[in-house]
């Protein structure tokens, strides 16, 4: 068979709480794989991963699911909302997989914070791309995660809408949430406090943004 490809190769990275990190690099450089490993969606073949000093690379599937639910919020390029399901129910989804009450209040609050109070009952196909991404961001925020992982969140949006979405991320970062964003778009880098450039599964540049 063909040669083994290392999507990530001997990569070492430390992310501080409250950072806004932009990961850039050509297609196939391993950006998304890195993001998936950070979010405990994917498992590396080897190496160590600690969150708040706790090893998380040897967790059971059940514990990983719990981490995804409580610590991370995912935002995808293609929104990944459940079809035929209202904005309200899409945002409610993460809350269904954890214990807790005042679910209704949380969903309404977070949808209001992304400016969609009046679209609770709308289904994805009744919303514009920007609105869909706002629902997806609301869904990522509803569990009050420590870290937001965004994989080209503006990739499917026009420039103007993309900037509106970026303003949302800016706000999310401002209130203290760590944001890790993969992007192709160099114009968005100024939102980040730190830029990491990757190539062939390796980090080739890691610089602080002075803003």
């Amino acid at each position: 068979m063909g040669e083994t490809i290392h999507a990530l190769d001997n990569l070492s990275l430390e992310i501080g709480s409250g950072e806004f990190i932009a990961i850039i690099g050509p297609s196939g450089c391993g950006k998304s794989t890195l993001l998936n490993i950070l979010g405990l969606l994917d498992t590396p073949d080897g190496g160590e991963y600690t969150i708040d000093g706790k090893r998380v690379d040897d967790l059971s599937n059940k514990q990983r699911a719990r981490f995804r639910n409580e610590v991370f919020g995912f935002v995808f390029q293609s929104f990944n909302l459940l079809p035929r399901t209202s904005a309200y129910d899409n945002v409610l989804l993460p809350l269904k997989y954890r214990k807790g009450d005042s679910r209704d209040q949380k969903v309404r609050e977070v949808l209001a914070s992304v400016g969609l109070s009046d679209r609770l009952k709308s289904r994805p196909n009744q919303l514009s791309g920007g609105q869909q991404q706002r629902v997806a961001i609301a869904r990522a925020l509803v569990n009050e995660p420590k870290i937001i992982l965004a994989d080209e969140p503006t990739g499917n949006l026009d420039t103007k809408t993309g900037l509106e979405i970026m303003d949302l991320f800016k706000e999310i970062h401002r209130i203290g949430t760590t944001v890790v964003m993969v992007t192709h778009n160099n114009e968005l880098l100024h939102y980040a406090t730190r830029v990491i450039a990757m190539k062939d599964g390796k980090i080739v540049e890691d610089r602080k943004n002075a803003n």
Binding site: L41, K62, A65, F74, L82, L93, R98
Partner: protein
């Protein structure tokens, strides 16, 4: 969590309602077959049981002809000359200590019953007053056969309402059986359609003494005695059997306790029930494979949804449960539809046929649990596949 899963399962089933319906058709038919057949069998069982219970627990019956090997009456003996005679009745009355007096009995005679030129066929039976109970008759008009009728050999006749309508006869009319004329003194209805002792068709009751005269013989076709003590029914039965055997020199008759028959009947209907459940299981198996198939399709179609759910924190257990609930809901809905259809059929059968199907709680329980179990068994594999999906690959799925 469970309510959420139920709601989402219902939503998904509804979103593909035509496909869902076609999928559960096999389950519907399977459950329909089980419930309809069980209802019919249990209906018959109940009818027989209540007709037997009409006799009461003290009743002992004596029939002509040797007992069959399995302890049931020998049906063919009905067509031969009876082996029981009036002097057997007298002998029993005088010698049996454990039975009540009088000993009632019935004698069959042949012949058509006519009023003027209208003739109908049926079974004319000579009875003593108490023997009317043997045939579950209830007098509706006039009077039944009395002891006086029997003692004075009065030529009176009591017929069924049905026969009276066919003959256009009313109380006081003159009817004839062959060359003998009778006065109609009573009209009855038969309480139980299914009856141990009567053949189907109309019955005509006359005093037993008259019947013996017409037959020119002292033959007796049915004898009914009642044990004095409810705790000594079996002893009384043995006593009757021993007395008559000694008198006849052989046991050329059958002594039975009608309630004993219930056991045999219950055994038969139980075997029937097992068979029905067995046969229906095959159709449920076929239906279940359909469920497995469609659930695999559903899981494949919803791969991306599974990825999304996992990304926001669904555990493998939660995904498994979600799809399992969907499969079980499908089969349970199928079971309920099958049950309702069987209920409708039973109502129709009760109205337009002599059957009185009976859907018991037990049957409903069997139907629903068979449906539920089929859902679990056939939904498990697709659900496990859904739960094991790799979230990264699932999210990339188009």
């Amino acid at each position: 969590m469970l309510i959420d899963s139920l709601r989402s399962a219902l939503k998904s089933i509804w979103a593909n309602r035509l496909r869902s319906f076609l999928t559960i058709l096999g389950v519907i038919i399977g459950i329909y077959a089980v419930v309809t057949l069980l209802a019919a069998a249990q209906g018959v069982q109940k009818q027989i049981t209540s007709s037997v219970e009409d006799f009461g627990p003290k009743t002992i019956m004596i029939l002509p002809g040797e007992e069959a090997e399995n302890g049931t009456p020998n049906i063919t003996a009905n067509f031969a000359p009876s082996t029981l005679f009036v002097d057997d009745i007298i002998y029993l009355s005088q010698n049996a200590k454990l039975i009540d007096q009088p000993v009632d009995y019935a004698t069959f005679i042949g012949g058509l019953v006519s009023k003027g030129t209208t003739k109908i066929s049926g079974l004319p039976v000579g009875i003593t007053p108490g023997a009317a109970d043997l045939f579950s008759v209830v007098i509706k008009e006039g009077e039944g056969i009395s002891q006086e009728n029997v003692d004075k050999k009065e030529k009176v006749i009591v017929i069924s309402k049905n026969a009276a309508e066919k003959l256009g006869a009313t109380i006081g009319d003159e009817l004839s059986i062959g060359a003998n004329n009778f006065k109609l003194t009573g009209i009855f209805e038969i309480e139980q359609e299914l009856n141990l002792t009567s053949s189907s068709g109309d019955m005509f009751l006359i005093p037993v003494t008259v019947a013996n005269e017409i037959n020119q013989s002292e033959q007796v076709n049915r004898v009914v005695v009642y044990a004095k003590d409810i705790n000594k029914v079996d002893e009384a039965r043995e006593e009757v059997k021993n007395l008559l055997t000694a008198k006849h020199g052989s046991t050329d008759f059958t002594v039975l306790k009608p309630t004993d028959l219930l056991e045999t009947i219950n055994q038969i209907t139980d075997v029937l029930a097992y068979m029905v459940v067995g046969i229906a299981s095959i159709s449920l198996l076929v239906g279940g494979i359909g469920i497995s198939n469609i659930m695999l399709v559903t899981v494949a179609e919803r791969t991306r949804e599974i990825g999304i759910r996992k990304a926001v924190g669904a555990t493998e257990g939660a995904i498994l449960l979600q799809f399992l609930i969907e499969a079980v809901l499908l089969t349970v809905i199928g079971s309920v539809i099958g049950l309702l259809m069987a209920y409708g059929t039973s109502l129709l059968a009760a109205k337009y046929s002599p059957l009185e199907p009976l859907i018991t709680l037990q049957t409903i329980g069997i139907a629903l649990s068979m449906g539920g179990i089929a859902g679990i068994v056939f939904g498990l594999f697709p659900a496990i596949r859904a739960a094991r999906k790799n979230p990264v690959e699932a999210l990339r799925f188009e």
